[in-house]
């Protein structure tokens, strides 16, 4: 069962050029020309928005910490890193369910488009150890399309997880 998540993650890093067609209906028309122009936008993953609570506060870390959620945010096409972008993170952890308010927190990318959020250890829930991340256009004024990600940990013992966004300008 680690096979599918790994594939998804690898593809995501590579630009999610092919996986998107299966995930987002109607995205294929958008992905094919984007490949020719450069970096393709990351499609929203199935189930990515589940138990999302919009507008979580920007925090230094979620709960007691001990686990790291990391990633990058870049612009589709030229791949330029995007600083100051708000990314919201939530998961089923040792300190709460996905839908609990204390399981949610947001952070901003640094000058290199990198984000790092410390949070409680993610534990397997609904059959997979996984996290959720959102770039929500409603809560960010940078003008990109909303994307929800749902990366899966290769092992439940992992103490970090990464997910990468390539955002498409509206």
């Amino acid at each position: 069962m680690t096979q599918a998540p790994q594939t998804r993650r690898t593809l995501l890093v590579a630009g999610a050029a092919t996986f998107g067609a299966a995930v987002t209906t109607g995205a294929s028309g958008l992905l094919a020309p984007a490949r020719a122009q450069g970096l393709a936008p990351t499609p929203t993953m199935r189930g990515g928005a589940n138990n999302y609570r919009p507008g979580a506060p920007i925090v230094e870390r979620i709960g007691g910490g001990g686990f790291w959620m990391t990633g990058t945010v870049r612009r589709a096409g030229d791949g330029a890193p995007l600083p100051g972008v708000r990314i919201q993170i939530w998961a089923h952890t040792t300190e709460g369910y996905e839908r609990d308010p204390q399981s949610h927190g947001a952070t901003l990318t640094d000058a290199n488009g990198v984000f790092r959020m410390e949070m409680p250890q993610i534990v397997p829930a609904f059959g997979q150890p996984h996290g959720h991340l959102a770039y929500d256009a409603e809560h960010d004024d940078k003008g990109f399309e909303t994307v929800f990600l749902r990366p899966v940990m290769p092992s439940a013992r992992d103490t970090s997880l990464s997910a990468h966004f390539v955002l498409r300008p509206v």
């Binding site: 589940n50 138990n51 089923h92 369910y97 996905e98 534990v123 397997p124 609904f126 059959g127 997979q128």
Partner: protein
């Protein structure tokens, strides 16, 4: 006696192992109940073919058939508890699963098995009213049973949950073996040409 002891072990060991899962510490009672309903359902899935095939020693055939019906009802109830308790825990994840748009590959197997459980149970409840030929009825019932077995085993094996990997694999192997044996022994599929020939007249 050995078979009874083995059956008791096959049913209780997975539950005991699941009860010791560290994951339980991060779950509330409803989510825990959802998991255990699934474990119990998988155990009952082993009992069903053993009763149907009359493989349990010193169990009168009539009592075995009646038990098969009761265990079937229990299996249906366990599946309902499993799904409802999961829905209470995280509604969007269960809605995704039921609509076959879940990101987790095991969900679709579980949902197909769930519908097959309902279909097999309904077929059993309406047996007299349906007035099907016994052979046709049995063929339908056992077809649903095979969908239940394959769907549930794949579902269980792909889920990373409270069950221990060893006890889960062993129980799944027993479920598959018992189901395969009853399908072979009852020779139901050998009768298909006969049924087809009869309806051709």
């Amino acid at each position: 006696m050995l078979i009874w002891a083995a059956l008791a072990a096959a049913l209780t060991v997975p539950v005991v192992v699941a009860a010791a899962s560290p994951l339980l510490a991060w779950r509330d009672p409803i989510y825990i109940a959802a998991g255990f309903a699934g474990v119990v359902a998988l155990g009952l899935l082993l009992v069903q073919p053993l009763l149907a095939g009359g493989y349990l020693p010193r169990l009168p055939a009539r009592l075995g058939r009646r038990l098969h019906a009761w265990v079937g009802a229990g299996l249906t109830a366990a599946v309902v508890i499993h799904v409802v308790a999961l829905w209470l825990t995280s509604p969007p994840d269960v809605v995704d699963a039921l609509l076959f748009r879940s990101p987790t590959p095991f969900s679709a197997w579980g949902v197909v098995a769930m519908w097959a459980v309902f279909a097999a149970a309904l077929l059993a409840a309406l047996r007299r009213r349906l007035r099907l030929k016994l052979l046709v009825w049995r063929l339908c019932h056992i077809t649903f049973a095979m969908v239940i077995v394959v769907g549930s085993v794949v579902h269980a094996m792909l889920v990373e949950g409270t069950m221990g990997v060893v006890s889960k694999s062993a129980l799944c192997a027993l479920v598959l073996a018992a189901a395969a044996k009853v399908v072979v022994d009852l020779r139901l599929f050998a009768d298909i040409p006969r049924i087809a020939g009869r309806s051709g007249h």
